[in-house]
Amino acid sequence: MTTLAPEPTGVSRAPMIAFIFKKALISALVALVLFSLMIGIRTEAGPTGQLIYWTRFGDLAAMVAIVFGGSIVMELLRHWWGPVGTVRIMPPSAQNALALLRRAVAPILLIFTVLVPVIFYDQRYILDLGILVLTYVMLGWGLNVVVGLAGLLDLGYVAFYAVGAYSYALLATNFGLSFWICLPLAGILAALWGVMLGFPVLRLRGDYLAIVTLAFGEIIRLVIINWESLTGGPNGVSGIPRPTLFGIPLTPGDDGLAARLGIEFSPTHRIVFLFYLILALALLTNWVTIRLRRLPIGRAWEALREDEVACRALGINTTTTKLTAFATGAMFGGFAGAFFATRQGFISPESFTFQESALVLAIVVLGGMGSQLGVALAALGMIGGFELFRGLEQYRMLVFGIAMVLLMIWRPRGLIGHRAPTLFLKQAQAISSDLAGEGRG
């Protein structure tokens, strides 16, 4: 029997390689035809108006070679990363190693993150970057509830970030409330705004919902700019109190943390404290989201993304289900906003433009809608990548655009293209995102 049954991977690998070569050859041929005139022959008007031309066959050959090689690389990557069910050229041992690595990514990442302030204690730049990345991880996880789980496309997420930031800034500067009282208040206020946004847009679906949420984000920003008596208008709010360690300020004074612990004061203490604060907030977001997914409300969110009509037929109140998704996502955005305000010490409407919404949404989409790990990786890649390519200056956006296009070609459902079931009888099986709905409303 075994001799009759062909070894599946061995047999299917050979035609696959032939296929890739064929495809690469065709690409190279197309490139040759296209570039032979564009690059191979250069024409210009001469000094007396006549046409002069010269050939650049070297450049042409290089271009065609790049297309040929690139095409092979792209196909190979596509087969390694491709959706479940395609024949993979990679040997099984490498696949097993990859699977193991994939499972270890989250714990390794978490341990590394916890150790970042220890390892990079002297490098303020890295600590600041870490705080920035974690802020976006948290925002991504918050938006993931709305977009990834409930399938409601929200383009105005920055509005809740702004509400949270201004809530803390105004409550702290006007009433002298401490950060730890303002943090839940900022979350509640943002959630309230989430519900207020949710009510009028509940009937809208898909593109229409996206447009209204986009407008909502802009409205909040314009209100902040124009309501000068309250928000200070374009000048923003300054002198926002720094957070304290449950009442103990992180200042060089006698009542500061350093003096109490009997260690020498260093401004890095505050940065490290902020780092762990945002890490704790982000992990709280993650924990709550994972918990919610396993509760009826979380399952209802995902069911809503899959099929709203079926939800209604099962007696699920789609209105409150959508509103809770909006409110939960907004609450986390509010927390992140309060943290942003206390970290910066100064906020202005410029920090809450549409670009922020787009960035957070890009993180969620790139990460793989609904996947917590994917969102964290995408935030790290996007925000970290922005910094990494700072040297490229104006080409930075170009590089990013290309990277995103390539990623969407290879992984159209995001970095983590699987949905993990919320409960199981025997064995949890990852569900390919091709089956899961993207949400239409």
Binding site: L292, L295, P296, E306, D307, A310, A313, T422, F424, G437
Partner: protein, 277 residues
């Protein structure tokens, strides 16, 4: 009607602009019985279903559900999700509407949403993992397992619903509807696309649902073998109106019904029948 009825539809009409989809339709469905609604394509059967299950607001008429407690609920006054939640009417769809990206088990858990929502203390008790929530969740899983066993899908509980074969998806949708613990189960063409063996299994399942759960079933079906085998009463519709009603055998021999199905008028149908016998 003196019989114990669960659903009473009176003078139901549904118009879409100038088109009259359902015209002054009245019928009853008896408790713990299987009532079939049949008729040629476009007769308005699914429109009736959509009215009963709250997806359409009827233009005129009343639909009442009588619970065993004696409470009577006017369906036309409830909107979408309340029909399932309060009137306890569950339905399936002509084109299957499962949650394809969720597992089979998750599909059945979503169906128990309202009960579980209460048990989880509107999420707050569940978030802190209260023991009462844990036991409620366990009961819900047991309930889901029970149904999976009945539809013979227990070994596929952890598979994505969208990966199931067509016949299994049909049965899963029925099980999901039953997980809402309805008093009336409305099935829109449950045997569509099933082979002979699968539709026989479906008939058995529906009969056992009626016997074991005391559920009443309202059924739209084109597969006459299923209709004749399991239904206690048949209502025939054509052009939005009721043209016949009665026991399956009587309806089958009714010349009006045959005329409607063959697209001929009544006299011709009688002629055809007489020449045939």
């Amino acid at each position: 009607m003196s019989a114990d009825c669960i659903l009473m539809v009176d003078h139901l009409s549904m118009r879409f602009g100038g088109i009259v989809a359902v015209n002054d339709l009245s019928f009853d469905a008896e408790r713990r019985k299987i009532t079939a609604l049949i008729g040629p394509n476009g007769a308005g059967k699914t429109t009736v279903f959509n009215c009963i299950t709250g997806f359409y607001k009827p233009t005129a008429g009343t639909m009442r559900i009588a619970h065993e407690t004696g409470a009577e609920i006017r369906l036309e006054r409830l909107n979408d999700f309340r029909i399932s939640k309060q009137a306890r009417v569950a339905r399936t769809f002509q084109n299957i509407r499962l949650f394809p990206g969720m597992t089979v088990l998750e599909n059945l858990m979503v169906a128990q949403h309202n009960a579980l929502m209460l048990a989880s203390g509107l999420t707050f008790l569940g978030l802190i993992g209260a023991p009462s929530w844990r036991s409620a969740e366990k009961r819900a899983i047991d309930q889901a397992k029970l149904w999976l066993e009945r539809i013979a899908l227990l070994d596929r509980a952890d598979d994505a619903a969208g990966n199931l074969p067509y016949g299994d998806q049909r049965r899963l949708e029925i099980a999901r509807a039953m997980c809402t613990e309805p008093v009336l189960l409305c099935l829109d063409e449950p045997a569509a696309g099933l082979n002979r063996r699968e539709s026989a299994a479906l008939s058995e399942l529906l009969l056992s649902i009626r016997a074991d759960h005391g559920s009443s079933i309202l059924l739209i079906e084109h597969d006459m073998s299923v209709v004749m085998e399991i239904s206690d009463r048949v209502v025939v519709m054509d052009y939005g109106q009721k043209i016949a009603e009665g026991a399956p055998r009587d309806v089958r021999d009714d010349p009006k019904v045959i005329a409607a199905y063959l697209g001929a008028d009544e006299q011709e149908a009688i002629a055809v029948m007489e020449s045939g016998t």
